[in-house]
């Protein structure tokens, strides 16, 4: 029994998540009443069976039986991709359906963010929801082949998926051929062009193509690469319609959103579904077990934005509102840094790892990121002054926006937001204070093989 299991049992037993049906809760974990993707059995019950899934949700609305009708419902719902970029799913489908060749659907659950767990958790707990969505996407674009791109080393997700596919085969639910592919364990391997490149038989390298994957993808066939969470939403949109979908979320970004809590919270890796207006502080208090305002929060992933705990506490946890503040919610990571750890030392640690995760294609990334990491290392060792700080800012600005993918720009976002958020720490480091970026329970997780390689 893991910490996660005892945690969600406790939450359900206390019934703290608005047990009254008329009051719609604004967030919840697996099994909480009022949730959408995570509704159903609690985390401790493990993977949901096909029988339970179909009893709970029923069949897909017959209105969505033709590809065009289904695409119209997706268009009306305003569903945006949940991999981080927020691209309209309906546009992707329309492009793929109109492009020459038979399309392929890819379920992207590779989730390269080390601390994010939402896609893995969806596959583990609600595999049929994701597979329903993949089947619907295949119907919408006329595909006969589905590829599930994920890490088979996530054993529980792998087992859940294998069992779910067997159940669907036995029940005659399989409409398209489903293939499971083990994604390479690199940060950039989940980027759409990298996924397409890998599934075409090359390395998982991001490309800067003239045409989108939905037009020319795997083996030059139109390829719809959707995040696992997007497809799970699609399974519900096809059942309950666009109007129901828009009851959660905001007009700019309709529907609920999955986030992952990480860092110094009660249960790192806990996936929470956000349904309505709620502040980051409220979620951290109720779901993260925080009783004091933390030093800082890293939003959106390791290539996301640091903001101070005080600023984060009253900020709404909502994709569009954060975007107006210049913050991307990305993959939905909310990582908490307590005041036992120096934020710059933590940034230096993440930077060293991220620099090594470059796919090695673009000069500005290959040479630029290690230089940025080196500058921050020197700062936390107390070796730097104002001059080095100025050069760090110049180098960071020169790397922003370069390269064939978003990796260098993301790293610059992390560095620049760290310099702003940890200004007091920065000042003391510039006066010679020394910090060590050691590993421990207070730090953010990094893949284990990287730690061993050091």
């Amino acid at each position: 029994m893991s910490a996660l299991d005892t945690f969600d049992d406790a939450v359900l037993r206390v019934g703290s998540l608005s047990p009254t049906p008329e009051q719609v809760p604004s967030f919840g974990v697996a099994g909480s009443p009022g949730t959408r993707l995570l509704a159903g059995p609690a985390h401790s019950m493990g993977s949901e069976t096909l029988a339970s899934h179909e009893r709970r949700l029923g069949a897909v609305d017959s209105v969505c039986s033709t590809p065009q009708a289904l695409r119209d419902v997706v268009r009306a719902s305003g569903l945006l991709g949940r991999g981080g970029a927020g691209f309209p799913t309906a546009t992707k489908f329309d492009v793929a359906a109109a492009a020459p060749g038979t399309p392929i659907v890819v379920v992207n659950a590779s989730e390269g963010e080390p601390a994010s767990a939402k896609d893995r958790t969806l596959l583990e707990l609600r595999p049929h929801l994701v597979l329903d969505g993949a089947d619907l996407a295949a119907t919408a674009v006329g595909a006969r082949e589905i590829v599930v791109y994920f890490h088979r080393s996530h054993l529980r997700a792998n087992a859940a998926l294998e069992q779910a596919l067997a159940e669907r085969r036995d029940a005659g639910r399989a409409s398209a051929h489903v293939r499971m592919v083990d994604a390479p364990g690199r940060y950039v391997a989940g980027e759409t062009s990298a996924v397409v490149s890998y599934l075409s038989g090359h390395g998982a390298l991001p490309r800067r193509g003239a045409q989108p994957a939905a037009q020319v993808g795997i083996g030059n066939r139109p390829t719809v690469v959707n995040n696992a969470e997007t497809l799970a939403h699609l399974a519900l949109v096809a059942r309950f319609g666009a109007a129901w979908f828009a009851q959660a979320g905001t007009p700019e970004a309709p529907g609920s959103t999955l986030i992952t809590l990480a860092g110094s919270v009660a249960v790192p890796g806990l996936v929470v579904e956000i349904l309505g207006p709620v502040t980051i502080g409220h979620v951290l208090e109720r779901m993260g077990g925080l009783d004091v305002v933390p030093r800082a929060v890293l939003l959106g992933g390791y290539e996301g934005t640091w903001i101070s705990g005080e600023a984060a506490w009253h900020t709404p946890l909502e994709r569009h509102r954060l975007k107006t503040l210049g913050i991307s919610l990305g993959c939905g990571l909310v990582a908490v840094l307590n005041d036992q750890v120096c934020g710059l030392a933590e940034t230096a640690r993440l930077l060293r790892w991220l620099a090594g995760e470059s796919s090695g294609q673009c000069g500005s990334c290959v040479f630029g990121l290690p230089v940025l990491a080196g500058f921050v290392d020197d700062i936390i060792s107390g070796k730097s002054g104002r001059g080095e700080l100025r050069r760090l800012r110049e180098q960071a600005a020169s790397v922003r926006g370069r390269g064939a993918c978003g990796h260098p720009t993301g790293v610059v976002t992390l560095v620049e937001s760290a310099l702003d958020t940890f200004a007091p720490e920065l000042a003391s480091h510039l006066h010679g204070a020394v910090c060590d970026a050691l590993d421990g329970p207070d730090h953010f997780p990094l893949p284990r093989d990287w730690e061993l390689a050091l």
Binding site: L205, G363, C365, S398, R402
Partner: protein, 92 residues
């Protein structure tokens, strides 16, 4: 009717750029080389025809075909048609 050229931009594929640096000699006002010698491009639309002519030469001069002009399809096609001509040919 001539299509407006103000929507044409020059872009670099960072994965292809090997830092030969020829483009920065031809089009210094738009392309600079970073600390490691790779092309860094100012990405605003190219307004005047002289800059556009040199942008075309920069694209043609790149040994690894890392540069491209992007814009509305009809404009790019018209530009490509004249791509082989050097400015002095036209003056004659």
């Amino acid at each position: 009717m001539r299509a407006p050229i103000d929507a044409v931009r020059i872009v670099v594929d960072g994965a292809k750029c090997d830092g030969h640096g020829i483009c920065a000699l031809i089009l210094p006002e738009r392309i600079s080389l970073d600390a490691w010698g790779y092309a860094s491009i100012e990405n605003d639309p190219i307004e005047d025809t002289r800059t556009l002519a040199r942008a075309k030469r920069a694209v043609a001069a790149c040994p690894v075909h890392a540069l491209a002009l992007v814009g509305p399809v009809d404009v790019i096609v018209r530009l490509r048609r004249g791509a082989g001509r050097r400015p002095r040919d036209r003056a004659r």
